[in-house]
Symmetry: C2
Subunit: 196 residues, 2 copies
DNA sequence: CGATTATGTTGTCGCTGTCAACATCCAACG
DNA sequence: CGTTGGATGTTGACAGCGACAACATAATCG
């Protein structure tokens, strides 16, 4: 009901998406090529155009998928903790963990401006993830574990923090070699700079 | 003494660099093209290869220039304040301001891993800027305005913070439209999340 | 002045994104 | 059950790109 059965190459759209994710993971966003994606899907170099307007549209779809996965990861991490503030912290760590686990995917998600009009699906998935974060912030505020005040501003503060850590880590700017060390640093930052 | 006088096209290297900066500002990093840079310098499409090994080398040179400019901006902003902590805060705001003023340039500086071996100049300029930040952190610690402890860790915390704000702002993720509003947010973050 | 080397040009290659034209195949309707 | 139309996939083409090689020129140094 969601989707008409494909014709020749059953599922081509999903196959293309999966190939794109894999290619980005291997070659990085710069090595990502519509033609190589088509090759991996064993399809002519122009077949992708039947499912994505252009290169950017396929990248946006990849980004949308990433936002959903990120959202899931944050929710799963948060749900392992009882207290609201702990849940928020865990979600923040999950954000960094996701960036470390899928750096190229993460890069695709945030390298572009993703105009709301042209890529509504990606925008929506992005907003979903942010609403999760906002919810965690508000919960922490309601129990007094987090300072009262503009929750939007606080959520953006938390986002900026973990995003900065993730970006610096991915681009090799942090002097920590292992993921463990990086996550320890992230924990340090979260513990010391969330305004209680 | 710094440089042998150029032959045909006096100064081509600098002209190329300036053209590259301008092109990046106009077309963004993705629209940056070696051949377009050559065109703007009124030179054949292969002339740049006499001065830069490849596209990446020219981008690295642009990045290096950006780090120096960023460093100057932070120092200038810091020097307008007497107290160490105020100096640190001002430098952080200058970081965000720089990103907002030259978003494409900033993107080029941080989009790549810039391997230390292949682009030593850019790496050095980057380390210079970070050492400026570290110095400001240590000063703030020595007067007790900033919590004692590992200054490297604290400097990285401060960096992550402003970097996250800058990145989110540049990619249009913050719900603030004007630079003023963004800087107000940055000030809020800095004031509330630097561990005193 | 002659030779060497730095600098710039022309030509070429394979790759890319995208468009247009053509082919194929499912599905709905008579 | 057959036809037809639209969705899907292919072939071919084009310009632009990064990079390499071969060639041309000009500045420097003996």
């Amino acid at each position: 009901m969601r989707k008409k059965k494909p014709y020749h190459h059953s599922n081509l759209r999903e196959v293309l998406l999966a190939s794109a994710v894999q290619l980005i993971a291997e070659a990085g966003p710069s090595g990502f090529t519509l033609r190589e994606v088509a090759r991996r899907a064993s399809v002519s170099h122009n077949a992708p155009y039947r499912h994505f307007r252009d290169r950017g549209a396929l990248l946006a779809a990849v980004a949308a998928e990433g936002y959903l996965e990120l959202n899931d990861a944050m929710l799963a991490a948060a749900n392992q903790q009882p207290g609201p503030l702990d849940r928020l912290k865990r979600a923040g760590l999950a954000y960094v963990t996701f960036a470390l686990r899928r750096p190229e995917h993460f890069t695709v998600m945030f390298e572009t401006m993703l105009s709301k009009e042209s890529h509504p699906e990606a925008t929506k998935a992005s907003e979903l993830a942010f609403s999760t974060l906002t919810g965690l912030v508000q919960s922490s505020q309601s129990t007094g574990q987090l300072v009262a005040g503009d929750s939007l501003q606080l959520a953006l503060l938390a986002w900026s923090m973990v995003h900065g850590i993730a970006k610096l880590a991915i681009t090799g700017r942090l002097p920590y070699r292992s993921k463990t060390k990086i996550l320890e640093f992230a924990e340090f930052v979260i513990d010391h700079s969330l305004p209680k």
